[in-house]
Structures are given as C-alpha cells and as structure tokens.
Symmetry: C2
Subunit: 323 residues, 2 copies
Amino acid sequence: MDITMIEAAAERLNGHARRTPLLSSPRLDDLAGRRVLVKAECLQHTGSFKFRGGWSALSALDPQTRARGVLAYSSGNHAQGVAAAARAFGAPAVIVMPSDAPKPKIENTRALGAEVVLYDRGREAREEIGDRLASERGLTLIKPYDELQVIAGQGTCGLEIAAQAAEKGVERADVLVCCGGGGLTAGIALALEARAPGLRVRPVEPEGYDDTARSLAAGVRLGNATEAGGLCDAILTPMPGALTFPITSRLCASGLVVSDDEVLRAMALAFAHLKVVAEPGGAVALAAALFHGEALAGDTVVATISGGNVTPEVFARALALLG
Amino acid sequence: MDITMIEAAAERLNGHARRTPLLSSPRLDDLAGRRVLVKAECLQHTGSFKFRGGWSALSALDPQTRARGVLAYSSGNHAQGVAAAARAFGAPAVIVMPSDAPKPKIENTRALGAEVVLYDRGREAREEIGDRLASERGLTLIKPYDELQVIAGQGTCGLEIAAQAAEKGVERADVLVCCGGGGLTAGIALALEARAPGLRVRPVEPEGYDDTARSLAAGVRLGNATEAGGLCDAILTPMPGALTFPITSRLCASGLVVSDDEVLRAMALAFAHLKVVAEPGGAVALAAALFHGEALAGDTVVATISGGNVTPEVFARALALLG
C-alpha cells in the first residue's frame, strides 16, 4: 500500500472526520526544552483516531456487503470508531470487547447502536471469537490494525500533520505516535514519507508492552509477555501486525518506552496546559516528548494524543499529581 | 462600533489566534433533546477566548504606546490573554488580580512574564488600583470588557461561529454565551447580526450573579449583590458594562441562569463526551444547553465553552458526579 490509498481514504473521510487541531503551550515547551506540537486526536469523533480507520474501512465496502453488517474486536476505541461509522451507514455492528475494558468504552459502544460481545482477555483469543461470529452471521470483519483500509484511514491523520507542520514552518522533527498494533504508526509514517519526508515517526509504548520497540530493534516481530492489566488499555496488543510491521520497520526510527507514572503526569499536563482529555494509551507519546527529551532530535517534536476515552477514576489519579 | 471593527480585529488576529473547533457528540444531543454544537474556546491560546481580546487590543495600540507597557485587572483569563499578547509584542504587562483567583491562573499569568499585583476582592476596587498603577507607570489600561478593541477581538469568535454553523447547514439557532461583563456576548452578537442573522445570542450566567439576565429584563443595568466567592470565578462581575450593555440589550434575547450543580455536571459531560476541559464559568452555556432545553427554541443550539482554566480540585468535584 502507499500514499494513493491514504489520499483516497481522505476523500472518503472528507466532511465526516474532523481535522483535529495541532495544539501547543509555552509551558509544555519549557518543560520539554523544545517546541512541542500536539496532534489532538482525542477531539476526533468517538474520542480517538479510530474513527478514521473505521470510516475508511466501512466506506470502502461495497454497499451490499456493508448492509449485512460488520464485526470488530477492540478494547474500546476501534469499537467506537467502527460502531459510529456503521451507524452512519445504517449497517449493523457487532463488537467483541474484553470484559476488563473501561466501562465508558463499553457503554459508548452500546450507545452507538452496536451489539457488544464480551470475552476474557486472559483466557480467550479475540481473533477466534471474531472469526466465528463473522462466519456465522455473514458479517465483514474490520480488524483493528492489520487491515489495509484501516491503515489508510489512520494515515489521513498523517496527511493533516504534514500540512499543519508546514503551516508552522516545521520541516524536520520527530513525530511521536502512540503505538499498539501499529495502524496509526504505519499510516502516519506512509503519509509523512510522501508529504513531509523531514518528519520521522517514532512509536511510543508503555513499559512492559514495548513489542514494537523491541521488534524494530530486532528486525523481527516479537510479542509481549502479556496483554492484560496495563494502565494503557488502548494500546496493549500481542505483537506488531503482519501488515503494519513491514511499514514501520522500513520507515520508523527507534521506539520509545515510558512508565505509567510518566503517562499519568502527561495526562495531567495536557489537562492543565492544553485543556484536552487524554487517556493513558493516548498520552504515551506526549509523555515521551516531555520526559524523554534526551532521546529526541531537533528543536521541535510532534506528539499525537491518540484518544481521550478514560474513566473519571483514572483521570482523577492523574489530576492528583498536580499541585 | 460595528462589524468592520471585528473584521479588522480578525485581520490582526489571523495567524496568531486559533480557529477553535465546533465540537459535538451524539450523547450530548441525546441528553439535550436537540443538536448541540460546542464552540471550544478553552482550546484557544491561554485556555480562554480572552486571548482574542488581548491580542486585538495590543495590536491596535501604536508601537510607542505599546512599548511602555499595558495593565489589566482580571480574575485570570483576561490576565493571561493580555500577558500572552504583551509577551509576543515584547511589551511589559502588569496584571491586577484578586487574591482569591484560582492558583493556576495566577501562576500561568506569571509564567507568561507578567507582573502580578494581588488585591482583596471584598475590600478593594480593582478599577481604582488599575487606574493608579496605569498613571504612575505610563501603562495603557486594557479593560476586560468595556473596551472597544477588546469587544472587537471577542467578536472574532462570532465570525467563526457564523462560518462554522453555515458549514453545518445551521441557519437558525440560539447561541448560548457564557457572560460576565459582556465582552464576548456583545462581540459575538455583533458578528452574528452581520453574518448570521438567524443565530440569536442568549447570555448565560450562574445563580446569584445574573446581572445581565436581570438587566436585559429590566432594560437598565443592574448589579449583583456580591462578586466574590462563586464557583464561576471567570464571569463574576459587578454589572454589565457601559459599552457592552447597549449592544447586548439591542441584540440579545433573554438571559438564562444555571445552578452550580448544573455547571459541574456540564463540566463532567464535556470531559466524557467532548474530551475538553471546561472551567466552571466556561461551562454555564453548555449547562443551559443540556439542562434548560425548555427555555430554548429550535432543533439546534450552539453553546460556547469560553475557558478551561480550572484547578484539579474543582475538576475532581465535577468528575465525582460521573458514575
């Protein structure tokens, strides 16, 4: 796949997805020791970039296939992205979610009209459940990242970053991307390769779930010891995708790894200085920008906030760090 | 003053102020029983619309006058707006703030390079302190709302609302504006009169500080019993402005009044469904859109979130209402 698929996805998303703002604050610049530009995808429809991939995939289906319905497995953000797109197209959506997914994500997915099927993240494989339901009901499976049209949809975020960085005169910078299976990372990397080759993507992951960082270093896909229980639920995936890894390994520089404490502090600083709500998995890139400056190059860094679907309880933990 | 001053201010703000997004969420639409479009000025530089007025006023000064410095009195948001604009122009800024202003507002104003002078809101009149300091030091006073170039700057928010509503096909709606002294309300009303006459401004205030609602009803400027101690610090002013009230009384429909509990619930819902941080005074309009639907006309309502500069403690009180 290449930039033409992303451009085609951008055409289909035009008027449906939001062009999210590139935010900044002098206080964050001071903290980071360089200019920090924040791509606020938490302000996207459904509260995360996943709406882009969901809309891209649904809009690429032929109408008859789409009308039979779609299925997704997701810890919550992909679920909402697919459910919202399906509702707009009048298509049924079945979503397979882990039973420990944050309650607001489950509730929001149901509120978007989707049927939610819960499973035990520690004992069952969501891929198996998804495949079975899809074949039983004639649904089309929309995978969360290992799906070309999903990667193309997430890549539209990269087209916007390229344009917004150019508007600010930024030609060279590290672009930090919150990384789970690698759909957003691969999509942005492809877009920047074509549109802003001086911008270099660096995936960011939480400690203990740094499969992409280790895989990039090793040159082969490596898994995590577990995908359950971490703070950053949105980006806990078993290993880099079969479709995404060849893209990220070709285009991305080394990955960065942040601690849960750094994630919570980044959430608090986004609250205080950007006035946006970041969820833990959506705050890893900002955490790297603020607290791992020694690993970055240049006088400007771009960080994605990939989502904002967080429980009040977890957000309160982050707020408690301010003071 | 009229639309030409607002258009001129928009020219001067171009490339400096953000065009803030008009957000929405199907969950809020469901709650309100109509479509809710939210103008997120909390995402403006310095976390509130006040940057518009500050920049407008500073940029309208002749360079020699500006270089001598400016003075503002403010509970915090105007302070930051003026301080940020002054720093960009390389001009000194002195800000007179009440000693009970939220700590982040005081800290952020100092971080923007301004000199902060604190006063006792219950015992001293900020106007007197401001006038004295201005004459002693040769500073130009930038009033928070009763100043033509400040109203013109706030009016640029109304130009954006007119354009963004048109993009969404909205021709008729109530536009709810968080109202203190009336600078934002008057500015938006003037912009909409010229650009979107089907959009009608309604000021929104907190209980106990509803001077504008009562003044509009009476046809003369009436004051509040107190301006100290309320939750909605950003919009607690003694009475409608001498310059703003003739504009709001000519152009606005009746005012709305919301309770502190409604304000906190609106903040929580903006967190959950829009992923933005609203401060209490910035959430009154959304509170009216969500909880006072019986007082509104039409199938769409526009609500401003005028600012997001809130302490973690107050925000945690709002979060605690989710559950």
